[in-house]
Amino acid sequence: MPKSKKRGSGLAAWAAILLFIVFCLVIAALIRGKDIPLLTPKGTIADEQYQLLVTSTFIMVVFALLVISVIYYFAWKYRETNHKATYNPSAGRSKLLLLSAWAAPMLVFVVLASIMLPATQKLEPQRSIESDNEELTIRVIAMRWKWLFLYPEQDIATVNYVQIPVDTPVRFELTADEAPMNSFWIPHLGGMLYAMTEHVNPLNLMAHTVGSYDGGAAEVNGHGFAGMRFTADVSTIEDFNDWVYEIAQQSGKFDTEEYEALLEPSEYDTAAIYHSPNNEELFDNLLKKYEGSHGHYDDTEHKNREAH
């Protein structure tokens, strides 16, 4: 091999390392001071999901680095131009390598599965969260293209806005009306769940830090998709009670007429808060509307309740 080639490959290696450093610096600069919800969780479920994410990533990165660095090392060591390396066409068939080929990934599999299985049970969104504070139920209805939240006990209806008290388990009961499949997601507080017509999917979350968080739709559902965002305010329990009291004093009401108006497709709706004394009835009507299809929403709900 001519000299130029050798010098070239050395240069390329240095260029690659330099490029990698620049790459990391650019990334660091771009995320500096930014909020990364999944890495700065504000809810108990999100906390555990974050822990799980970090642990499993760590285990796999260590394993993957070991395996791929061997590939790159061999590619370099046994390169044709390296005359010092031995060449043996029948090498590499050792029983040991074969054994580790199966054993190593199985080991990683067993470790990860033993972490995953209990976590899946524990973090199942249908499972209620244990707490000294009483659970708050909020019905969430996905529409084209906005989120309607109904507070059955507080007589409140909100659009693209939800307020919840801190350190209180919240049971979001997700469904949809005249809308395709949707996915309800507040990244700071925990994972998402689908909101579909004729089903009520319970998603249990609990915030542990006061603040204002973004939420939105995560399943494409037509051209208003990107605007189907909402704010989730987590307030102290006192502030929440004040808010509830304040809304109760309002004269305006949210009833069937307002509900029907919301069913008209619209995009980028601004947040709205209403006093809504009979929202239980609105919700029952919605369930009845799709009852003819399968009517097993009741069934799942009962099962989930029974589980606790």
Binding site: L97, A101, P180, V220
Partner: protein, 690 residues
């Protein structure tokens, strides 16, 4: 009357938006230019007789490559448009409407999976598998040409919306119900989706049946299943998976079609429909589909690593167990695409475990490559560089894939850009890089000259760097809570800089694509110097290299006898016996596949626009042609032994005349030289001097 004749079709369907007008004019000009060129060169008869009606799998393979190459450009252009919109959307609203943006990502997904990845895989299977198993043609050459032309009909259908209708499906590549139903997507775009996938999907099923028969029944004497090269094995696994799940896709799309056309309630929100059933059915096909395109690619890597390490595959049987394991388990993991639908912890756990299990055979394949490289003599040619790039990208895709298999983590990153980055890592790293490795590896076999190594290396590096610049920001954006398919987002999210970085990465990838085109042109310019005169430019091991480059229509003058796994390697060691030539029977060209596909296209078009008479007439036409074909007994021709001998001897005499091959990449044209010489060369080509 007008409604009977034209269905829903009327003047408003003509192009009237900037993108449909531009698309129509652009595509129209391309077709006109091509037609003009062929007319000018007086090549119509040649094109029809030698190529379009050919049943030679080598020619059909190359036609797959050409069509898929154009579709790769088309899908890549879509990707750039998506990137640009998202880079701009953080300040202002970008330049695309939500509807248009959603149509583009739907088309991007459909094109890349069905009309690029699947087609390129079929291209390789067509060209290489018969050569690797020592066969002269396929079990059913007619089925093969039919499959290819149905694929072309699908390609035309997916591009039809430029000319008529002006809209494509805006539902995401799998058109999940109920969004794809009549209630939420009444437009004709959804019907184009249905029929482009339906027609090409049927082509895929037919092709897969044919290749399973070919691999099982047409192998050279002595080549037992356990002596088959790993690419053939990967293809066999892939084709078996294809016939297992593609009928499922066909039926699911039919049910969706019934919902839209007849008003049934399979997947609607009302009337007893169950949209969740659609999600299940489509992913029962959709997940195996991922491995249908990946397994042949793993096969390609196995061939490449073995050849360029100058060593046999280290753990052949283990690799087989790995491939078959991946193929089998991948049938039982579909639910991991919707852990978030709320099936409950037990169901999610079962599918999570199954998904993690796939990582075991996949890692075993990696270890197999490690064992193959160990104490080898590794030539870092471009196919090998594609392999090394694949390792890094696929590793990130694998890690994030397992993360997504853990339900509680999936709940947080599902449908986010993290997921988008994950499947691009596996699809680009695992499938596309494999295809590119295969292209560089087998190009000399197909074209008779090898590809330029220097420019090839630049292309590899552009792709790898571009990939990480483009997709690392998407992983981070996913963790920031950015969902996929957002045409717009608020400036306050702070996502814009990362989207811009991703867009720049996309441009670097496009540079890689451009370099690949330059690589092919530059190699063509230097084709004399790069000529492969021996048929075995890489000192390879498998049978496809034992014949000339490019191979004669009958592949092998004498069917090889196989006694070991690396059959050709063994032949080279023992020396090749003096051949005894016999008559060769080859299948005749046929245009039947073209006629059927044209009618299939019109049937789909008729249903899309509810022009019922057209659909009915076309279907009847298809049936008549198929029945008529069965009465045609005259489907073979014979090449007499004398002629074979003459052709072979002519070839052999040429072998010695050109200078002996030895490769020094230093002589390959660099970019600078290409820029200097290409314009003059192109001018000469146009003037017809060469």
């Amino acid at each position: 009357m007008k409604e009977f004749l034209l269905g829903k079709l009327d003047g408003s369907a003509l192009p009237h938006e900037w993108h449909t007008i531009a698309g129509s004019i652009g595509l129209g000009l391309m077709v006109l230019a091509l037609a003009g060129f062929i007319t000018y060169k007086k090549r119509w008869t040649w094109l029809w007789k030698e190529w379009l009606t050919s049943v030679d799998p080598k020619k059909i393979g190359i036609m797959y490559f050409i069509v898929a190459g154009f579709m790769l450009m088309r899908g890549g252009l879509d990707a750039v448009m998506l990137w640009l919109q998202q880079a701009l959307a953080g300040s202002g609203n970008g330049y695309l409407s939500a509807q248009h943006f959603q149509e583009i990502f739907t088309a991007h997904g459909n094109i890349m999976v069905f009309f690029v990845a699947m087609a390129l895989i079929f291209g390789f299977v067509n060209y290489i598998v018969p050569l690797q198993i020592g066969a002269r043609d396929l079990a059913s050459p007619f089925l093969n040409t039919l499959g290819f032309w149905l694929y072309v009909a699908g390609v035309v259908m997916i591009n039809m919306f430029f000319f008529l209708g002006g809209e494509y499906a805006a539902t995401g590549w799998l058109a999940v119900a109920p969004l794809s139903g009549p209630e939420f997507s009444p437009g004709v775009g959804m019907d184009y989706w249905i029929w482009s996938l339906q027609i090409s999907g049927i082509g895929t099923t037919l092709g897969a049946i044919n290749f399973i028969m070919t691999i099982l029944k047409m192998r050279a004497p002595g080549m037992s299943l356990l002596k088959m090269p790993l690419f053939t094995w990967g293809s066999l696994c892939s084709m078996i998976m294809a016939i297992s799940v593609f009928p499922l896709l066909t039926m699911t799309i039919f049910l969706l079609f019934f919902d839209r056309y007849l008003g049934t309630h399979f997947f609607t929100t009302t009337g007893g429909g169950d949209p969740m059933m659609y999600t299940n059915l489509i992913w029962m096909w959709g997940h195996p589909e991922v491995y249908i395109i990946m397994l042949p690619s793993f096969g390609i890597f196995s061939e490449v690593v073995s050849t360029f390490s100058r060593k046999p595959v280290a753990f052949y049987k283990t690799a087989l167990v790995g491939m078959i394991g991946v193929a089998t388990i991948s049938m039982f993991v579909w639910l991991h695409h919707f852990f978030t639908m709320g099936a409950g912890a037990d169901v999610n756990s079962a599918f999570g475990v199954a998904t993690m299990l796939i990582a075991i055979p996949t890692t075993v394949l990696l270890f197999n490559w490690i064992g193959t490289m160990y104490k080898g003599r590794i030539r870092l040619t471009t196919p090998m560089l594609w392999f090394l790039g694949f390792v890094a990208i696929f590793a990130t895709g694998g890690i994030t894939g397992i993360l997504l298999a853990i339900p509680p983590i999936d709940f947080q990153v599902h449908n986010s850009l993290f997921l988008v980055a994950h499947f691009h890592s596996t699809a680009v790293g695992g499938v596309l890089f494999g295809i590119f490795a295969g292209l560089n590896y087998w190009f000399p076999k197909m074209a008779g000259f090898r590809l330029n190594e220097r420019i090839g290396r630049y292309a590899v590096w552009s792709w790898i760097i571009g990939f990480f610049v483009a997709f690392t920001p998407l992983y981070i954006l996913g963790l920031m809570g950015a969902t996929r398919r957002l045409d717009n987002y608020d400036a306050s999210t702070g996502w814009q800089p990362l989207f811009i970085m991703s867009f720049i990465g996309g441009l670097i990838i496009m540079l890689g694509v451009a370099l690949q085109v330059v690589q092919i042109i530059a190699s063509f310019m230097q084709r004399r110097r790069l000529a492969d005169t021996t048929g075995d430019p890489w000192d390879s091991r498998t049978l496809e290299w034992s014949t000339n480059s490019p191979p004669p229509s009958y592949n092998f003058a004498v069917i090889p006898e196989v006694s070991t796994r690396d059959a050709f390697w063994e032949m080279k060691r023992l020396g090749i016996k003096k051949p005894v030539y016999k008559d060769i029977h080859m299948p005749k060209s046929t245009a039947t596949g073209i006629y059927i596909s044209i009618l299939a296209f019109f049937a789909g078009f008729g249903f899309a626009w509810e022009i019922n008479w057209l659909a009915v007439v076309s279907i009847i036409g298809v049936i008549i042609i198929l029945v008529a074909r069965t009465f045609n007994e005259d489907i073979e021709y014979t090449i007499p032994a004398e002629e074979v001998k003459k052709m072979e001897e002519a070839r052999e005499s040429k072998l010695g005349t050109l200078k002996e091959q030895h490769y020094s990449d230093e002589e390959d044209m660099g970019l600078l030289e290409f820029v200097k010489t290409a314009p003059g060369w192109a001018l000469g080509l146009v003037r017809g001097k060469k």
